[in-house]
């Protein structure tokens, strides 16, 4: 006996097997991401007052918005590709699905730039308590050169108390260290004075205040011997970045996996269209359902991580 309902739906359920399969799988995915969102909520609720990064300070919103649109567009191409098969237009299917794959790759490339931006973003705590925060320009065995600004906070503070870590160009610095981190209480007071005094570290004449002018920041050359602690913005930096990397990393894996499947069905797998068109259309629908789910997850990830 053959396995029934692999292609044609079962009359009483109205479904073919793999459709049930993919929905069950997606149900488990909902629980997987649900658990991670719960984690996000608990970490955020549990974070000491003021330590959770303010919206828009950690990540670049325009880039995130573009990536959101990229993924939404890929969802549309997927569903149009499937509709093309339904209309018996194989060439259009190929075209749309090629678009999907390109958009998926675009998403991953943009994401990797975002990741790279975080990994080259350093916070250096010097032995005198100065904290310098910025992007790595170069480093050798003796020196580290950062392009960024001095934070008026000294001592340890790893809990994401830097409200102004907008990657590239807008160090808008005025403010809010009042919350600053587990140890921040003691630091906030001395903040402004440190700010001025350590200005001598900077190349160029302007002190740390310079960047408040907007878009202008400095290079700092720091001797390795003066460094007490140096950390980049990887997942180890604070719980926000930890959950950010975990959620987006897992999501990126899904994007990658989906792209591989769609790529296979676009390339070698598409031969099936000529022998078993209905079965092939089903496969496209299944892979599409997975792809929409990946899009759906991102629709929640984007506001939660970038905007709120």
């Amino acid at each position: 006996m053959e396995i029934p309902h692999t292609v044609k739906p079962r009359p009483d359920t109205g479904l073919y097997n793999s459709k049930i399969g993919i929905w069950l799988f997606l149900a488990s995915e909902v629980m997987l991401f649900g658990a991670l969102f719960s984690t996000y909520i608990l970490l955020r609720v549990g974070a000491p007052e003021g330590t959770w990064p303010k919206p828009g300070t950690m990540l670049n919103i325009p880039i995130g918005t573009i990536n959101t649109c990229v993924l939404i567009m890929s969802s549309v191409t997927v569903v149009l590709a499937w509709a093309s098969l339904k209309l018996n237009q194989f060439k259009r299917f190929k075209l749309f699905q090629a678009g999907t794959i390109l958009l998926a790759l675009t998403f991953l490339v943009i994401k990797s730039f975002e990741y790279n931006d975080k990994f080259t973003h350093y916070e250096v705590i010097k032995k005198d308590g100065t904290v310098i925060n910025g992007h790595l320009v170069s480093q050798d065995s003796k020196h580290v050169v950062l392009e960024g600004a001095i934070l008026p906070v000294k001592g340890e503070h790893k809990l994401g108390d830097h409200p102004n870590q907008q990657p590239a160009h807008q160090h808008d610095h005025e403010h809010d260290h009042e919350g600053g981190g587990d140890k921040a209480g003691q630091n906030a007071q001395g903040g402004e004075s440190t700010h001025g005094e350590t200005g001598q570290q900077a190349h160029g004449s302007e002190s740390g205040h310079a960047e408040s002018g907007g878009g202008h920041h400095q290079e700092f050359e720091i001797a390795r011997s003066e460094i007490k602690d140096m950390d980049n913005y990887g997942p180890w930096f604070n719980t926000y970045l930890a959950i950010y990397f975990t959620l987006t990393g897992l999501h990126a894996l899904h994007v990658f996996g989906g792209a591989v499947v769609i790529g296979y069905l676009w390339g070698p797998g598409s031969k099936m269209w000529h022998t078993e068109p209905e079965r092939f259309t089903n496969r496209i629908e299944i892979s599409g359902l997975f792809w929409h789910f990946v899009d759906l997850v991102w629709i929640f990830l984007f506001p939660v991580l970038y905007l709120l």
């Binding site: 629980m31 608990l42 969802s75 509709a83 629709i299 709120l308």
Partner: protein, 101 residues
Amino acid sequence: MSESNDTHEIQKEIRTYLLVFGALLVGTVLTVMASLIDVGAAWNMTIGLVIACTKGFLVAGYFMHLMSEKTTIYAILAFTVFFFLGMMLLTVAADSDVPAV
């Protein structure tokens, strides 16, 4: 159902997809704009999540055809939503109901 009828159906659906696509882009722009206006963290959060849920509903409802899916799928998803909410809400509730030391 005849083949041409079917074709007609699909073409109608394609129009729906394009409409949904537009709505999703608008939603994305809206949610970014809304986040830039400071109306208090709670409200910002609510607005952001409402827009996200709407977008999610559009994707699930139209792209994933949930608007016209079979009962079996609805049943599976109903279970999932129940347990999903149970996990989220109870965990958060347990976390907030901790006696002061």
